[in-house]
Symmetry: C2
Subunit: 331 residues, 2 copies
């Protein structure tokens, strides 16, 4: 029997629109095990909750532990969350409205469950584990299918009056700009998310601009079916269209960072998400240069702007931190 069996553990879950990731952590936040399942959101709330519960059970079992050893389960979910009631108020990706996630999951698992917004959870994980709690004010920005954010102010997660703070993806930075999934135009998300990058690439390719991206397509696929990693490959092959579109996305990200620095004056800005994980080396220099260009004098003094190294683990790590904080677990 391994040493870990003797101690209690925490489970952190990252619930996304397409996949569920569950991680087993020691109370000191050492990661022991992860298990992944697909979300199958179209099957509805009850089915998704059952899948989350199964993912947690599987991870516990893989780590040769039993549910009795789980002190609590933290879960980061996409959308507006009420962390007190554990309800998902509104989650367009999952098509949930006022969904009692905490209660339903506690019924399945018989252990305490705590719910947070997924980007808040990622920001919390980066703050506590990657930066070891050193920053007093941290802004997390996550570039993936969409764009989300999280705020740590005065060392604490800040979610504001309606618990919705950090919706940086729907900050309009180009009035009259491209249509966003939210219905508005010119949102940051409509200019720098993976979805918007591929849409722009497809549009320009269709208009006749040359690109090597078409070489990566399997039968029946279109450019919008590709992944962030394909963009990296295209860049390495010297694809000019990909370089141009990514440069614009990075410039818009730099402007968004400057806007948020001007508004919030954070000590640290961390960028994460699938797009950053795949393209950090290509995007970061442009983001930094643009942010410095657009931020007001004095606002960036001694401020760190960096890319998170936690990758996919940010969400589960932050969800585990959440359990530690809510249960007031000591080191």
């Amino acid at each position: 029997m391994s040493e870990t069996i003797k101690q209690d553990v925490i489970v952190g879950v990252d619930l996304g629109g397409t996949k569920i990731l569950a991680g087993i952590f020691t109370p000191q936040l050492k990661q022991l095990q992860t298990v992944k399942l697909s979300t199958k959101a179209s099957r509805g709330f009850d089915s998704v909750v059952e899948r989350v519960a199964r993912c947690v059970r599987d991870a516990v079992d893989e780590a040769d532990l039993s549910l009795k050893q789980v002190r609590g389960v933290g879960i980061g979910a996409p959308g507006a969350i009420n962390p007190d009631s554990g309800e998902v108020i509104f989650a367009p990706n999952l098509q949930w409205k006022n969904a009692p996630l905490q209660k339903a999951l506690e019924k399945h698992l018989g252990v305490p469950v705590f719910v947070e917004n997924d980007c808040n959870a990622c920001t919390l994980g980066i703050h506590e584990v990657e930066l070891m709690g050193k920053s007093r004010s941290l802004l997390g920005i996550f570039l993936g299918t969409g764009i989300g954010g999280g705020l740590i102010l005065d060392g604490q997660l800040y979610s504001g009056f309606n618990r919705t703070a950090g919706e940086v993806g729907h900050m309009v930075i180009q009035v009259g700009g491209p249509k966003c999934g939210c219905g508005n135009n010119g949102c940051f998300e409509a200019l720098a998310s993976r979805t918007s990058i591929f849409r722009e690439l497809a549009r320009r390719a269709k208009e006749g601009e040359k690109t090597q991206l078409t070489e990566f397509l399997k039968d029946g696929e279109s450019i919008t079916d590709l992944k962030s990693g394909d963009l990296r490959k295209a860049l390495r092959k010297g694809d000019k269209l990909t370089a141009k579109v990514l440069q614009e996305a990075a410039k818009h990200t730099g402007i968004a960072v400057a806007n948020l620095v001007n508004i919030l004056s954070p000590q640290t800005v961390v960028l994460g998400g699938g797009v950053m994980d795949a393209l950090e080396d290509d995007l970061m220099p442009i983001i930094l240069e643009t942010a410095r260009d657009y931020a007001m004098p004095g606002t960036l003094k001694d401020v760190e702007i960096l890319a998170s190294k936690l990758g996919d683990d940010a969400g589960i790590t932050g969800a585990a931190v959440l359990v530690r904080q809510r249960l007031k677990l000591a080191d």
Copy 2:
């Protein structure tokens, strides 16, 4: 002798690029007297400090009081402020850099002086006196010659890591939009400040669009010499160009409000400044409609968006609140 002479008082000063306003307040924040002087910023730091001191002495004298009865002087100054050292780090309107305002003024007056950013002071005044401290999180937005803002989070003034938080005027909302005084393009300030409104009116009039604004011009004046009150008069006369340009400025303000609501989830948003004071009835309906249109679902639930009634007194009131807080004066 009046009753007020027997008690100690607080002085609040609003230092602007063109005028200095000083107000005498009871410790309970009842306003007793105000005096106004021009700033004459071009004469330099020492001269401006001397004028601020004179304005304070004049106000004290007008109220039949003596400097000995002044517990402290609060001052709101435009630009980035270090409230601990009382220095003005950077104030483009005054052409100051690292200016020791607190020390210089204390030398002149012999009473404790406290310095804050002018928009932070206005927000503090509105929070404590107009809203009686009831809002836990308040966003103040001030539309005048430029656009500034202030944040109250968890009931306290929030200025962030570099003390520069609240620079909402330099949030880019239209990439590639009109040039801003800061050097960037498409800032909120370049789309909705008095300066930008008059610049747009002058540009369109020059291009041949009809306007009754020209009737208000004295010899040698151009449209950019007019005041916010002239816009109100032009609207009342049915001037279509003025209506169109103000509608656009209000729409941009509504988008900026929605951006900030999405980012910060405040309980209350208050709009103030000269443009709002003169044109509240015309601008507010458009600002509200646009903000509701652009804010994410759930973010505006039970949120108040209102125009401040304090007008020019917001700054001096907030500066007086600052003294109360710093000296920990009881009611």
